[in-house]
Amino acid sequence: MKLYDSGKIITGIVIFVILMTFPFWFNMGRAAPKPDPKLPKNVKNCVLPKDTIKTSHMQILNNWRDEVVRDNKRSFVAFDGKHFDKSLSNTCMKCHSSKKQFCDQCHNYLKVTPYCWDCHIEPKEPKESKETAEAKEPKETK
């Protein structure tokens, strides 16, 4: 059997295969690092149990903003009985005092970029040298 124009065909196939598999070998050995959110050291509990906050923090933030802005209800009782202001910058980010080492860890991995920070002020990032940001526990409200 004779393959006409074998040179052209084989070159074509090689180029085709290289192009098709480009994304695989281009990213080889560069798998995105597993997210590693740094939990606050000096507090034990979040405002909701860990499993719930992990999966539903966007819902609770959404509820908080409606309740605060639309119903003027600003007080929240955490599952462990502590009272907090419903606030993104003034509550969540007081405990999770580094956005880079916490929120961004997961979100960058997932390629979600909540637009909240266009308006809400991020906490000042701790100095590079310090490993984890200390939680400045938000003032408990009555």
């Binding site: 903003r65 802005v69 639309r70 003027n72 600003r74 606030s87 910058s89 003034n90 637009y115 266009d118 308006c119 809400h120 002020i121 009555k142």
Partner: protein, 259 residues
């Protein structure tokens, strides 16, 4: 003993009052009661209102009041450009009260700048036109803005007869790029949303007076509940003649001026 119905009701009423009062003191004792008395006035208003006593306003008050408001809410200073954002500002008499009775108004009034801001209208046109209910009426009478819902259509700006609303043509963060955001506890806004005075709803929630009221050293700004006949604003309105901006439009402003 003969007791007619009227007397019986009187005695019963007084007894009930006594019982009620006693139990109130039991529940709220000492510090708690004191806290409740202090907190109640600023967290339970039905219709917040303000009286601007222009007779008392001093030259330096304007700067103090405007700065206090604008730093407290991270309002960028784009003054002098068409992108200016203002929550509270000074306006000459004939602009603030274009329907003023005549041109011979006494000079102390005519030449005095008037502090103007959102009128917190009882029947607010901006609320009526907002297609997303981003602007709405709170239960405390404040015309609120929900920045999360604002789509920047600017119907509210067209509807507001007082020019109390500003549109963010620029990203306000560009103003704060090389300086600190003055109040890290309050969000900025973004390009494409409208904003205005919120009567310091976030401060009222903490039992604090609005920033402008607190900053005005001559006590020319008086804040209180218009629905409460015993409030300071009602007392002052009873004792003085006051005017409101463009009352004939039927917007029922909650801001009163004593001239």
């Amino acid at each position: 003993m003969s007791l007619n119905r009227r007397d019986f009701l009187k005695i019963a009423g007084i007894t009930a009052l006594g019982v009620g009062a006693a139990s109130a003191f039991e529940v709220l004792s000492g510090k708690q009661l004191e806290a409740a008395l202090k907190a109640a006035p600023l967290t339970a208003g039905k219709r917040w209102a303000m009286v601007v006593d222009t007779r008392k306003l001093r030259e330096e008050d304007y700067h103090d009041v405007i700065t206090a408001c604008h730093t407290s809410h991270n309002v960028p200073d784009f003054s002098g450009t068409k992108d200016e954002i203002k929550w509270i500002w000074a306006e000459p008499f004939e602009n603030a009260f274009p329907d003023s009775p005549n041109e011979y108004v006494k000079p102390e009034v005519k030449d005095k700048p008037f502090l103007v801001f959102c009128n917190q209208c009882g029947d607010a046109p901006c609320v009526r036109v907002c297609p997303t209910k981003a602007t709405f009426k709170g239960e405390d009478g404040i015309t609120m803005m929900d920045m999360h819902r604002c789509i920047g259509c600017r119907y509210c700006m067209a509807a507001c007869p007082y020019g109390a609303r500003s549109f963010n043509f620029r990203d306000p963060r560009t103003y704060f790029a090389d300086k600190e955001v003055p109040n890290r506890e309050f969000p900025t806004r973004t390009r494409g949303v409208v904003e205005k005075c919120n009567f310091c709803t976030e401060r009222l929630a903490k039992g604090l007076y609005p920033a402008c009221v607190e900053a005005c050293k001559s006590n020319a700004l008086i804040f209180g509940d218009l629905d409460d006949p015993n409030s300071e604003v009602r007392r002052i309105l009873r004792a003085n003649f006051s005017i409101r901006r463009k009352p004939q439009l039927g917007t029922d402003p909650s801001i009163f001026y004593i001239v």
